[in-house]
């Protein structure tokens, strides 16, 4: 392919992904003066952020004046079982309040306190009611606000456009190559800085709350470009996904149900979470139903209900109850708010949950309990970045949001994702803009052979007849990850998963797609599959290596948290031969003044 027939655009910063992190990055980049483009797989405003429900965690102190960034920082680190990058957790806790106020400045309409301030709600692992929210559709409010801001600023958006390859000039980023989904035509972006904001990996699992876009594109693009991934073994299974009917299995049921008073019960009508309070959280968790119920009104003199333990703890407890035969009729557990709060309260606080259960499952949540079970929700691992700037080890390549790693340690607290998108989206966008400016006299050059190779790889699935069906392969991949690399893991199963993934990898080289290049979902899937395989291999490799249980990584053969693993990050890179390679690396050490926050008083 010659350059003359290829659609080409030049920008200072190209942001890949238009969820919360991508939009916030683009706004920051634009405001830094950089010529900025957003490239996204879906229509603008449809990214997965739209599905976030509960809220944005930010220590604004509107409801509990005692709240401040130090408390939020401490909650975040403890929720992540201390494996978070301390600097990311610190910046996140310090800057989240300003990022929320900024959304209001741009038109977001949050729910209010009686004094007219932004209201804040309770969530798992947070000491104080801290989540700025709009009913249970906070993600929609956030993405619409950012989308409207980006449109008002006149930022260029390339919708339904998929990036398949990052281009490099020696060691620096030189741009990105991709295709228009509607026409199938190729497009190239020349840019000295690229921000990855592509979200997560959930589509590698059968039961997931994630949308089709979550195929690990950014993780795979980063590895391919020479960047490193950190702690990919940590995958969050949200405790409460729908389980019935089968077609909605995995769709998220917000943690706000529990934050607003809902409780978990087994088939014996028992509030079983009291049996699963780990030593690590005993001091801050109620040990009787009476104390737990008092906490909603009086947080000073009571401890948090165990239903609001961090998500990893609750998901494992639910898993154990179901395995012990105390599950609900459709293989879940009961989540009950109907008997605890009146119908008007539920409809006001949880309108989309009410709507979702009514429409999809014929269940009236103001009158009966919901059936729920764990669902793959979030990957804590991601591109290893510098906390302050979001830059990866590749000059010019930035990452923010779910695709970046380190911020959440081994487990993310609810509400910390939306704030993460805003805080680090802004930082990555800003610094990508600065980078482009600093290097304005040292432009990068796109190398034609890279472009040709990317174009050839993209059309390869059309070249062969009689090969594998990409949909079949995707389903098999999801089975492997669900069954062998799920909530509870063992050495044998992980070893087997790697063998099966290698076989799937081989078969993925022999895909066939029918039809032509115009809006062809079979072809799109065939190009997403290698990314899904890459992240799956990363997760399985790291999970096999880490011989302990911590946060979103539970080994049945190593059930305890092991101190000696507490200071170790697992780093994945592509070696010279294109094979994944795994190294151990020391966790960055927290300064003493922050360390003091964790000393027992």
């Amino acid at each position: 392919m010659s350059t003359s027939e290829l659609e080409t655009h030049a920008y200072d910063v190209v942001v890949i992904g238009a969820g919360g992190a991508g939009l916030r990055a683009a706004i920051a980049s634009h405001e830094s003066g950089a010529r900025t483009a957003i490239v996204c797989k879906s229509l603008l405003g449809k990214a997965h952020t739209v599905m976030a429900e509960g809220g944005i965690a930010a220590a604004m102190g509107n409801v509990w004046p005692d709240d401040n960034w130090r408390v939020h920082f401490r909650d975040t680190m403890r929720g992540g079982k201390m494996l978070n990058h301390w600097r990311m957790a610190q910046l996140h806790a310090q800057e989240a309040p300003d990022r929320v106020l900024e959304l209001e400045e741009w038109g977001a309409l949050f729910d209010r306190t009686k004094d007219g301030l932004i209201s804040q709600r309770d969530f798992g692992g947070h000491r104080y009611a801290r989540l700025a929210h709009v009913g249970d559709r906070t993600g929609l409010e956030m993405i619409r606000t950012l989308q409207q801001r980006a449109v008002a600023l006149g930022i260029d958006v390339f919708m339904e456009c998929t990036v398949t390859k990052l281009l490099k000039d020696v060691d620096r980023i030189a741009g990105a190559f991709g295709y228009w989904r509607d026409s199938g035509r190729f497009v190239m972006f020349e840019a000295p800085a690229v921000v990855l904001a592509t979200g997560g990996i959930g589509k590698s699992y059968r039961v997931t709350s994630n949308s089709w876009e979550y195929t690990g594109d950014g993780h795979a693009l980063a590895l391919d470009a020479g960047a490193s991934l950190v702690n990919m073994e940590f995958v969050q299974f949200h405790p409460t996904g729908m389980v019935w009917p089968p077609s909605v299995r995995g769709i998220l049921v917000t943690e706000s149900v529990r934050g607003d008073g809902g409780v978990l019960r087994n088939s014996e009508d028992k509030r079983f979470m009291f049996d699963y309070i780990p030593e690590f959280f005993k001091g801050e968790t109620a040990d009787s139903e009476a104390e737990a119920d008092r906490w909603y009104e009086d947080k000073k003199n009571n401890r948090r209900p165990p239903e609001l333990l961090p998500r990893d703890e609750v998901a494992r407890a639910i898993n154990s109850e179901i395995k012990a035969g105390r599950g609900s009729p459709h293989g879940g557990i009961f989540l009950d708010i109907a008997s605890r709060r009146d119908a008007a309260f539920i409809q006001r606080r949880l309108p989309s949950m009410y709507h979702q259960f009514k429409e999809l499952a014929d269940v009236d949540i103001t009158a009966e309990a919901m059936e729920i079970g764990p669902t793959c929700h979030y990957v804590m691992g991601g591109v290893e970045v510098d906390p302050d700037t979001g830059v990866s080890v590749v000059p010019g390549l930035y990452a923010a949001g779910e695709v970046a790693g380190g911020m959440h340690g081994s487990n993310r607290l609810g509400g910390n994702s939306l704030s993460d998108l805003l805080v680090f989206g802004r930082r990555a966008g800003l610094h990508a803009g600065y980078f482009a400016y600093r290097h304005r006299r040292r432009p990068v050059r796109v190398h034609q052979q890279q472009v040709n190779a990317a174009a050839e790889a993209a059309v390869a699935p059309f070249a062969q007849d009689g090969g594998e069906n990409p949909y079949t392969l995707q389903r098999e991949l999801q089975e492997v990850m669900q069954e062998l690399v799920g909530i509870i893991r063992t050495e044998d199963e992980l070893t087997e998963s790697l063998r099966k993934l290698a076989d799937l990898r081989r078969r993925a080289g022999e895909l066939s797609v029918e039809g032509h290049r115009q809006y062809n979902p079979g072809w799109h899937l065939a190009l997403d599959l290698p990314n899904m395989l890459t992240v799956s291999e990363c997760i399985a490799m790291a999970a096999l290596e880490r011989t302990e249980s911590r946060g979103g990584h539970t080994r049945e053969d190593f059930p305890g948290t092991d101190e000696s693993w507490g200071g170790i990050n697992l780093i994945l890179t592509n070696d010279a031969g294109g094979e994944l390679s795994l190294q151990r690396q020391d966790l960055p050490r927290m300064p003493d003044e922050l360390h003091e926050l964790f000393e027992v008083k």
């Binding site: 309409l109 949050f110 209010r112 009686k114 007219g116 919708m159 809006y519």
Partner: protein, 254 residues
């Protein structure tokens, strides 16, 4: 439990197309989008369909199901009999890209034409204060998931291609109303709602409200109040005088 479902799916592109028959095995509790995904996975790998969340939250999978504007992910098969044929066609108000996917860029063009929110400065502590009852009206409109079913159904757009340049459609009347009712906005877009967005062309048949998957009362709560506000500004000398003398409205007109 499962049964064979007969479907007729429109397949084609800008140059034309036709309904094609499929029979696909479906299960209890499934929705139209599940059936279409199964056709895609087993019979027509290149069947084009746009979707994202499959939970009624993103508004991507809009189509016409047996002639009605609906989200495929929120249309349950149990609403139909086992013998019924389900026909799915692309949104009619927008140009077809391929199969069930349409070019909805009209809506993104209209979004760009609408001047953004411009708030008053924050209070001394950097925060803004608004009462819950004052934000609730806007919150109803911000439930909009931009599925564009209202746009597709509105006959001003659907039946009159020539109206498109002058008419923004119900989705954007929601937006005008939301901003007009925002307690802290400093801009007055009433003139624009009339001249640029063409709210006067709407003759309140409520078709948009009927198809809204978020049950937003588009006509009653947004369009009619907005029409009244536009008219107040334009024709009522007493209201005009009142706003000037008592300084009830010191917004900047756009």
């Amino acid at each position: 439990m499962g049964y064979p479902l007969s479907m007729r799916l429109w397949r084609g592109d800008r140059d034309g197309g036709a309904l094609q028959d499929f029979t696909v095995e479906v299960e209890e509790g499934e929705v139209v989008l599940d059936a279409i995904h199964r056709v895609q996975a087993t019979q027509a790998g290149d069947l084009a369909v746009r979707w994202n969340c499959k939970a009624g939250k993103c508004g991507s999978c809009s189509a016409e199901i047996n002639g009605r504007s609906r989200l495929m992910c929120m249309t349950r098969l149990s609403d139909f009999g086992h013998e019924d044929v389900i026909t799915v066609t692309p949104l009619r108000a927008f140009p077809v890209v391929r199969d069930l996917v349409t070019d909805v860029s009209y809506n993104y063009v209209k979004a760009r034409e609408l001047p953004a929110f411009a708030p008053t400065p924050p209070d001394a502590d950097g925060k803004r204060r608004m009462m819950q009852q004052d934000v609730e009206r806007g919150q109803e409109f911000r439930k909009c998931i931009e599925c564009f079913l209202c746009q597709n159904t509105c006959h001003v757009i659907r039946d009159h291609e020539e109206n498109k340049p002058a008419f923004a459609g119900p989705r954007f009347f929601l937006r005008y109303a939301e901003l007009d009712m925002h307690p802290l906005d400093t801009h007055d877009r009433r003139e624009l709602a009339q001249s640029a967005a063409g709210i006067g062309l709407c003759n309140i048949t409520k078709c948009c409200t009927e198809v809204c998957p978020e049950n937003i009362k588009i006509t009653d709560n947004a369009i009619i109040p907005m029409k009244e506000r536009v008219v107040d500004r334009k024709y009522d000398p007493l209201v005009w005088l009142g706003t000037k003398i008592r300084r009830r409205d010191d917004r900047t007109e756009l």
